[in-house]
């Protein structure tokens, strides 16, 4: 696989989102991955409804938090069709689940994988290139003050608390790093992105890595 790779270059990564005051990062990361993998598999890149996942994923807690693994499990079990964001727009508060008929257009998650790649970040690169952007859970305590650059220090891996989407990596420079899309708007970090040193499980980025299949 190449020394530098970013799914944004293939036009299959949607714009950075802003979860605002809702603790729904778990839904943003999952929906972001589904959007990208769906586009990669030949569909057009479309923004899918994060609000649908927040409202309907009963095994999570809406804007109070949740787990990407649980959301993916729920999506695969129910075969729910994820509809377009325009049809079920984001409100930044959890609400009542709105149902759509099975005949309605939408994207279905067929399967997913979730692994701990703590000592296998090289293999993580190949999974990313082969399957698409990856949902990961990180310890983002120090991200409160982040402005840009590659995080190489001050990022523990003891307490995973935030879900994001890895869209690529770059190993061409002095410090190899992961390219990560966050959901705190474009005014945070580098236009909404954060770069994390690759190879040391920095921020716990390799401990819970999910790939989506649509």
């Amino acid at each position: 696989y190449p020394p530098r790779f970013d799914w944004r270059d293939s036009g299959v990564v949607g714009p950075v989102q802003n979860q605002k005051g809702c603790g729904g990062c778990w839904a943003f990361s999952v929906v972001g991955a589904i959007e990208s993998v769906s586009a990669k598999e030949g569909g057009k890149l479309q923004q899918l409804s994060v609000q649908q996942v927040i409202d309907c994923s009963y095994n999570n807690q809406g804007c109070n938090g949740g787990s990407p693994d649980e959301a993916l499990y729920w999506l695969t079990q129910t075969k729910l069709k994820l509809v377009n964001q325009a049809e079920y727009p984001y409100k930044a508060v959890a609400g009542i689940c709105q149902y759509f008929p099975q005949s309605h257009d939408g994207v279905v998650v067929k399967n997913y994988s979730a692994h701990d790649f703590r000592t296998h970040e090289e293999e993580m690169m190949s999974i990313l290139v082969e399957h698409g952007p990856l949902v990961v859970i990180v310890d983002a305590i120090s991200w409160q003050d982040y402005l840009g650059g590659i995080i190489q220090h001050h990022c523990s891996s003891h307490n995973a608390n935030h879900a994001v989407l890895i869209t690529g990596y770059d190993t061409t420079g002095e410090v190899p790093y992961w390219i990560v899309r966050n959901s705190w708007g474009t005014s945070w970090g580098d236009s909404g992105y954060v770069y994390i040193k690759k190879g040391d499980n920095m921020c716990g980025i390799a401990e819970n890595v999910a790939a989506v299949f649509v």
């Binding site: 778990w26 938090g65 701990d116 790649f117 305590i141 120090s142 935030h162 708007g185």
Partner: protein, 75 residues
């Protein structure tokens, strides 16, 4: 309210001290992370954690290089 404003100011001042610390102890290089004022600077670390760091983490099975198949949760 005045109380909230005052609290926000204290958090902001604390965040500036935090930025100085984070930036000073870094190994300086062109691509090192930079820390400074952003939209979260008037929140305390506790408030930031409560509002934005809400993932319920689950342990994933270790990746086995000899069995790199799909793991699907079954219960």
């Amino acid at each position: 309210s005045n109380e909230e404003l005052s609290e926000g100011r204290i958090h902001f001042q604390n965040s500036i001290k935090r930025h100085a610390l984070l930036n000073s102890v870094l190994k300086k290089s062109n691509n090192s992370a930079r820390y400074g004022i952003n939209q979260f600077s008037d929140l305390s670390p506790k408030q930031f954690k409560e509002r934005y760091l809400t993932v319920q983490a689950e342990a994933a099975p270790k990746f086995d290089i000899n069995r790199p198949g799909i793991h699907v949760k079954t219960s």
